[in-house]
Amino acid sequence: MPAVLQVQDLVKSYGQGDAGFTALGGVSLAIEAGESVAIVGKSGSGKSTLMHLLALLDAPTSGAVALHGSPTASMSARELNRVRNASFGFVFQQFYLTANQTVLENVVLPLKIAGVGAAERKRRGLAVLERLELAEKAHSRAVDLSGGQKQRVAIARAVVNDPAVIFADEPTGNLDSATGSVVQDILFELNRQRGITLVVVTHDADLAGRCDRRVQLRDGRIVETPARTVPGPGLGGVEAAPQGGAALGVTGGVR
């Protein structure tokens, strides 16, 4: 079975000549179904750029991104939109909820974009909120929620379309450590119970530590994945063994 996402020799540069800047300088990586992967590195290391390319929000300068084994370069804008809508979920540091809409309206946005009917949207939206223990907040306005609740709503929005992959960009960055760990628990529970692949960009060592695998970036390149020092709770000693990565020669570290 092909990897959910696979990238080969990914290069992304901005501008040209002296003013040019290379954000990613040749990255190869494979992410298997059901894996949880943390992309870590300092600011400017290229981790956000890598996530945007993986999430098909941006096109690489060179190199290839494959989804379920099929290359995405040849996809039309319409197909890319459909893939992002149907297969991906997004969680961001700033939540990006529409303040004056209700929690339910915020959660069903991906379904609305997909063209799902109103009754079906409501049913699925309420089911997701029920699962995340937010059902009683369904008709509250998003602006009236606490930070932790907002991020849980954002997670509900990310999973309402039953995605294959959730991309989380600093999901705990705006939360205190207590609410942050609640949000982490939810994300890893979704990963474990529903088999949703998790791609997390984070500075948070604790969050990164709970992932199956960490991809360390420095100056736009992958450095060798450090050995797991803190086993994540509840992971039952699953080793951070990058599957498929070997085939692509990614684990070799700095190239």
Binding site: A77, L80, R84, N85, Y96, K112, A114
Partner: protein, 425 residues
């Protein structure tokens, strides 16, 4: 996103804008309301003119006069040759008219396409006596009887010494109401060429209503009465005075062929005007005024359109991250464009519908108030008349302007790059 959801989202986010939306809607409202009113006024006034023309019954009537009836004063143009055959009609200001002679009437009758010709004598009564009061009197032209609307009674009957008086005269002549005036007798006093005065009893046959055509501002006698008065006016002279008519009414066989007949009249030194011609000038002026007002309303709408551009640009700016999120979640550029243009159209729709409805309501109310007050002198004039197709056209025009205004912000929203938009602070 489905079409219905797109509309729903656009409506929700428009209403979310509150004050900004309200102000923009007000701007559109003002333009749409003004345009509705001016267009209603155009329809109302033009319809009134049409009805006035129609009540003359005879669109085929040509009113013929000498083409240069005023005998020119010598100043500037030198003396005119004396023509023993011409007949002069004194007006009392030292200015005289040349009237139509029997020969002219024969000429008119001789023109191909002209049927009956009715010449009208110019009768200048000395005064009108009603009870003990005396009034100046200029008589109306008997042929105008056909075009007047009656407040009471009927027009002066042929063969009878009758007179129809304007409704504005009723009180001054000492009558309590138009109904009371009908059947009463007044006296017309004439002076003949020998300087003798004679009193003629005239029965008031009816009371006329004022109209835009202005034919009913003077009392109108019957043709036979007018002729009897004229006969006395020219009597008492040692020599016979040749017949002189202030005008003649010629009935055309075919109203559509007025052009050639008018051309022949002009060749013969006369001018013939249809009722339509006489009111045409008035119509031209009214239409010019209405177009100026329309232009003002359209300028107001264009300004409102710029208001829509501004409102939506601010909205797009504020909602940059929301746009970024929707695009990240797979919403296509065209759908984002649709979302924002629908907002513009919705603002336009609110303003247009409210504006048109208010315009119709205000116009209808004003018409009623004015018909009883300021415009009471013109019965039958419904100043604002609204036609559904016209209103629909105005609403459609406003929506078009709103959509056009919305394209600028909508294109900007549609082109946003999701990553940049999500990073927007």
């Amino acid at each position: 996103m489905r079409g219905r959801d797109l509309v729903g989202s656009a409506v929700t986010s428009t209403l979310r804008g509150r004050i900004r939306t309200v102000l923009t809607v007000v701007a559109v409202f003002i333009g749409a309301c003004a345009l509705t009113l001016t267009s209603g006024m155009g329809t109302g006034v033009n319809r009134y003119i049409d009805v006035t023309v129609a009540t003359f019954g005879d669109a085929s009537a040509l009113y013929v006069q000498k083409s240069q009836p005023l005998i020119e004063l010598s100043a500037g143009s030198g003396p005119q040759k004396y023509d023993p055959d011409s007949t002069q009609i004194a007006t009392g200001f030292g200015v005289s008219f040349v009237g139509l002679s029997d020969q002219d009437v024969a000429t008119i009758e001789g023109i191909d396409g002209v049927g009956e010709v009715a010449p009208v004598y110019n009768v200048v009564p000395t005064y009108l006596q009603a009870g003990q009061e005396r009034f100046q009197l200029t008589l109306g032209i008997p042929v105008d009887s056909e075009g007047v609307q009656m407040a009471s009674g009927s027009v002066a009957a042929e063969g009878a010494d009758e007179l129809a008086i304007p409704d504005t005269w009723v009180t001054d002549l000492g009558f309590g109401s138009p109904q009371e005036a009908v059947g009463a007798t007044v006296q017309i006093v004439m002076t003949n060429k020998a300087g003798q005065q004679q009193e003629f009893d005239a029965r008031v046959s009816g009371v006329t209503q004022a109209s835009l055509a202005g034919v009913s501002r003077n009392p109108i006698p019957s043709t036979s009465f007018n002729e009897r008065l004229y006969a006395y006016q020219v009597s008492g002279s040692p020599e016979e005075i040749p017949a002189s008519y202030i005008m003649a009414r010629a009935i055309m066989d075919d109203a559509g062929r007025a052009g050639p007949i008018q051309a022949q009249l002009e060749e013969a030194g006369m001018i013939g005007l249809t009722v339509e011609d006489q009111l045409g000038m008035f119509r031209t002026v009214i239409n010019a005024i209405i177009w100026i007002l329309n232009a003002c309303a359209i300028i107001a709408l264009i300004a409102a359109g710029l208001g829509i551009v501004n409102t939506l640009l601010m909205s797009v700016q504020e909602r940059t991250r929301e746009i970024g999120l929707m695009k990240a979640m797979g919403m296509s550029g065209p759908k984002v464009f649709g979302l924002f243009s629908l907002e513009a159209v919705f603002i336009g729709l609110l303003g247009a519908v409210l504006g048109a409805a208010t315009g119709v309501a205000a116009g209808t109310y004003l018409t009623q108030v004015l018909a009883e007050g300021f415009l009471a002198g013109l019965p039958g004039l419904s100043l604002f008349t609204f036609q559904a197709p016209r209103i629909a056209l105005i609403v459609a025009a406003v929506l078009t302007i709103a959509f056009a205004a919305g394209t600028i912000p909508a294109v900007r929203a549609a082109r946003k790059d999701p990553i940049t938009a999500l990073r927007h602070e």
